[in-house]
Symmetry: C2
Subunit: 131 residues, 2 copies
């Protein structure tokens, strides 16, 4: 859901197309969530974060680029590991606070060496369970 | 990336298994992101948020249940629209701040009536473009 307009500001200067920037609903840190999906398999690989400039670089360089919340810097996926993400498509969601980034993934997406970051299966039970 | 331990607290009381709760890395609002994927198609439908109790209800009721940040209440997907999400599996990511929820989706996932929330395609260009 949208945050207030007061909060919905770019955190840093960016060359992002103003028409796109105007559709973003950023969190208080100026970020939107980026769900990363592998083109070939459809698998969800990871969740990362983008500010306006990370989105601009992702859209124009062809390499998925995120904002590292811990290091507070731009992070070109694969720059260190070689596990690049070549961008196929990027879609914004209905309320402007999440992106779906479809990529060609080189090697493992996860820093643990796993192919995806979602490896910890939790137990599901309940009357509506579909098995 | 992890938030500080001081921030990483449940926002509300919950019956969530303590062993699972201990693996969550919550944002300052006590929430983790939930990427929702359709079982049959693999399509990414939406991004929502869960606190500990929403996750507990999702894991034990078989119906995807979120925390509404705008209404500040639990939100059983489909309770109003009939567009339920029957939970197939739930996986936590490597740093504990995002979930991948795989569901059987009834009807449209998006409140706009679209099948998924990610319908606003952004223009991708650049030297690494794969077309």
């Amino acid at each position: 859901m949208p945050v207030t307009d007061l909060q919905n500001q770019p955190a840093r200067p960016s060359a992002l197309d103003p028409a796109i920037a105007a559709r973003l609903r950023r969190n208080p840190d100026g970020l939107v969530a980026a769900v990363v999906r592998e083109h070939a398999t459809g698998d969800v690989l990871m969740l990362a974060w983008m500010d306006d400039e990370a989105l601009h670089r992702t859209l124009t360089s062809g390499r998925a680029t995120y904002w590292s919340r811990s290091r507070r810097e731009y992070w070109v996926k694969g720059a260190t590991s070689g596990h690049h993400q070549y961008v196929r498509s990027v879609a914004l969601d209905c309320d402007g606070d999440a992106l779906l980034v479809t990529v060609d993934q080189v090697g493992a997406a996860c820093h643990t060496g796993s192919r995806t970051c979602f490896n910890d299966e939790l137990p599901v039970s309940g009357p509506e369970e579909n098995s």
